[in-house]
Amino acid sequence: MTNLEQTVVEQDLRNLEELVEASGNLPPEAPSLSPPEWIRKNLFSSPFNSLLTVIFGLFALWAFRAMLAFTFSPIRVWRAPATNARLMLAGVYPESQFVRIWVLLALTMGLAGLSMGIVRAGSPLSLKRISIWVMTTGTFLVACVLLTPTSWNLVNEDGSPIPNESFGTVMSRRIWPWLVLALIVLGIGLAMWFGLGEIRRRSTFVPSVGVIFGALIAAVGSLWVVPYGHYALADGVYISEPGRTVAMSTKVPFTVCLLIMLAMFVVGRALAGRVSYVPSRFALGLVWTLLPLIGIFVILRDPAFDYGYVMSVDVPLFLAFAVMGSAILWFLTGPSLGEVGRIIATGFLLLAVFNWVAAFFGWYPMLQKVRFSFLLFALVALVAHNFAGDRATRVRFITGWLGALSILHYFATVINTPRTIDLVQEQFMMGLVLTLMVAALSTLASFPLGMILALGRTSEMPIFRQLSTLYIEFVRGVPLLAILFFVANILPLFLPDGMNVAEVAVVVAGFAFFSAAYLAENVRGGLQSIRRGQFEAADALGLTTGMRTSFIILPQALRASIPQLVGQAIAGFKETSLILIIGSLDFLLIARSTIPNQTEFFGNKKEGLLVVSAVYFLGAFAMSKYSQKMERRLGVGER
């Protein structure tokens, strides 16, 4: 801690001590209401409210019972999605290569654990809150058990009705274990509530990280105890294998992934105090951004590197760009360069653009990678004058340039190489893996693009404004399916010769272009909500337009438009099901058409769709909940 931070912490501690001393004068907290009081106050406070409670309560009960009737009806074939679980999650990924999916999961969970550790995730949960959760879950389970219908009005094949069992028979035969479980849960909740007493409930805290990890350990632990149904093989033909359960093949990988996550969490916590804030967050963000790319192109796809070519062409190319680029950038960040530097940088940008035009018309051959590297170099050179100054700044800037160049070259080399995994069809990613990867990549790509468009549309320079407006209005006027169709089938015809684009990249680009237009309008709304005084104060302090935008305007604009941004991310997550347009077998399509076409489960659509809906809901709900947490942390509406 610097001296300054130490001073501030000491002052805060002194303030806290004063507060604690003076706590005799603080007003008492309102005590919790007992359940009957709560019900009377919140549900039946006035005649009109009582009427509303009764009407909506009956409706809710009826809807709930209908859902239970659907879920627990004997004619449901829950085996359909259950035995096809692997198909829905990973598609027809070869069994022998399945370890790659486990590696990807382990990487993701490890990174999540590390992030949770470094950012010291998890606010403390009071026992009061936990007891309310437990009570609610217990009540819900009891309601489920008691409300499930027992008379189904089913008919035999010859039309004679199957007699319904009485409630008592059903209870005593099948349901009573569940009822006992539900009552136990409810009992625990009630015991926590009444047994602990007001003060202990309110002031005893459990770290929420502990709760999360506890739940995960319980879930993975249950794999070792409960068999969880039967599998169907994934190579070609689907058959049900009674002797082989889900738990048998997944318990070890899941346990390993969980252990990695816990270990990385511990590592993260150890690092949390030692690393400084900005570099650690930047590094984490960078790794998370690269994870989907590495997941797809390196892990799932396993590029077949031709090492001879790599050594003779790719590596020298990278070294050439690295050395020459660094030398030119060192010159451009010289402290006494001034305007000449900007002119040179603009010259490079024009050269880079000319390369692309030349490639389009085929005037001279140039490797795709070289064109990209040149463009990256030109863009970096444009901002070089911002980093002019002392030696340390220049070295850091050039290190950043080398890092970006390495990442670009690595992925450019990896993406278009053929793959080593032997698959019958072109698509190697299917199912939930495909949905998640496409959603992650398209969101990652669309957010920066959307922000640039928003800044362009509100810019004072007419060219940027017109181009951005044109783009936004055009994309918003065209349906997503049309854009995907165009991008998948027609765009490759427009690309320069020799440029092969991976199928997945094309689709992700389509989603990103679409999302970016909507995001731009959302961000523009946020931009317009900022008072003029902020711009004026920034100008009066001497901040350049770029500094003003990145330090003052964009943070406030993005903070104001968090609900719209998250809404767009959630929509993007669900829109990925439209990749069926290029023939990809994604999560929803499998439930909708693949499972009902299997001979065993012919025509069984509803069960699979319900599972898919539940998964989409969980994902969207998690994103929504996290956005609320983010808003609280950023002080939306408070500061």
Binding site: L4, V8, D390, Q534, A537, D539, F551
Partner: protein, 259 residues
């Protein structure tokens, strides 16, 4: 020394100081409405000039023209020998020497007080962080609120926010400070704490141009008072001359309404 000798001495001293702000026949229109009519004045180094006038008289417009928050259409403005034109280099140079304090404080709400003050020095003057933070703490002590360094502007009172705004402008080491009605949005109890800071600044030798309604401050601290009405300068004089013996009728009318 007689009073006239003293006045002459002051005037000679004033005349020998360099011109900091030269406003020469400045005109500004908002559409068809002329907000500034040939405003001509010169402000010397270390001078404290208070601009008084009824609302709508163009005081804020004139002061905002000086650091190019508004664009003047006629006349010349020269700040420390740099003419204010459309050339961005001139504008940047002038803005680096002129600090401004606004009526609405305009602190950056998403940054702490410390970040508010150190943002511009770190990124515009490229001062390293420890040094910038040390300067910021000194400035916070100078304005009297060092303990608020890690708070957010929304957690401070109005007077504290305005003092942070003054510290933020001072962090860029300006030669001239412009104040656009700095206490108009404050409760009476907090006005004095801000005025104390401004008096301290004036005593320290800062060139200040203050648009305000605080007559007590004007009487006590100002070297010169400029009275504006309807976009033109009506009267210029020392505080003694202005408050006890104004020459123009419009000035007398204004004073009768507010005193």
């Amino acid at each position: 020394m007689s009073i006239s000798d003293a006045t002459t001495a002051v005037n000679e001293d004033l005349a020998s100081r360099p011109d900091m702000i030269i406003s020469d026949g400045v005109d500004k229109w908002y559409g068809d409405f002329q907000a500034l009519k040939s405003v001509t004045a010169t402000i010397k180094e270390r001078e404290v000039v208070v601009v008084l006038g009824p609302s709508g008289s163009g005081k804020s417009t004139w002061i905002r023209c000086i650091n190019r928050l508004e664009v003047h259409q006629g006349g010349r403005i020269v700040v420390d020998d740099v003419e204010l034109t459309n050339d961005t280099r001139n504008i940047e140079k002038i803005r680096s020497e002129v600090g401004m304090v606004f009526q609405q404080f305009n602190l950056f709400p998403h940054l702490t007080v410390m970040d508010n003050i150190t943002l511009a020095p770190k990124w515009v003057r490229k001062i390293p962080r420890p040094e910038a933070e040390a300067t910021a703490m000194q400035l916070l002590e100078r304005v009297g609120i060092p303990e608020q360094a890690s708070k957010y502007p929304g957690q401070l009172s109005g007077g504290q926010q305005q003092r942070v705004a003054i510290a933020r402008s001072l962090a860029m080491e300006p030669k001239i400070m412009l104040f656009d009605e700095p206490t108009s949005a404050l409760d009476p109890e907090m006005i004095s704490e801000v005025l104390d800071v401004m008096k301290d600044l004036a005593r320290g030798g800062m060139t200040m141009m203050v648009v305000t309604h605080e007559m007590g401050f004007a009487r006590e601290v100002a070297d010169r008072i400029i009275f504006m009405e309807s976009g033109e300068i009506v009267e210029v004089g020392t505080p003694e001359h202005f408050f006890t013996n104004p020459t123009e009728d419009r000035t007398k009318l204004f004073l009768s309404q507010i005193l």
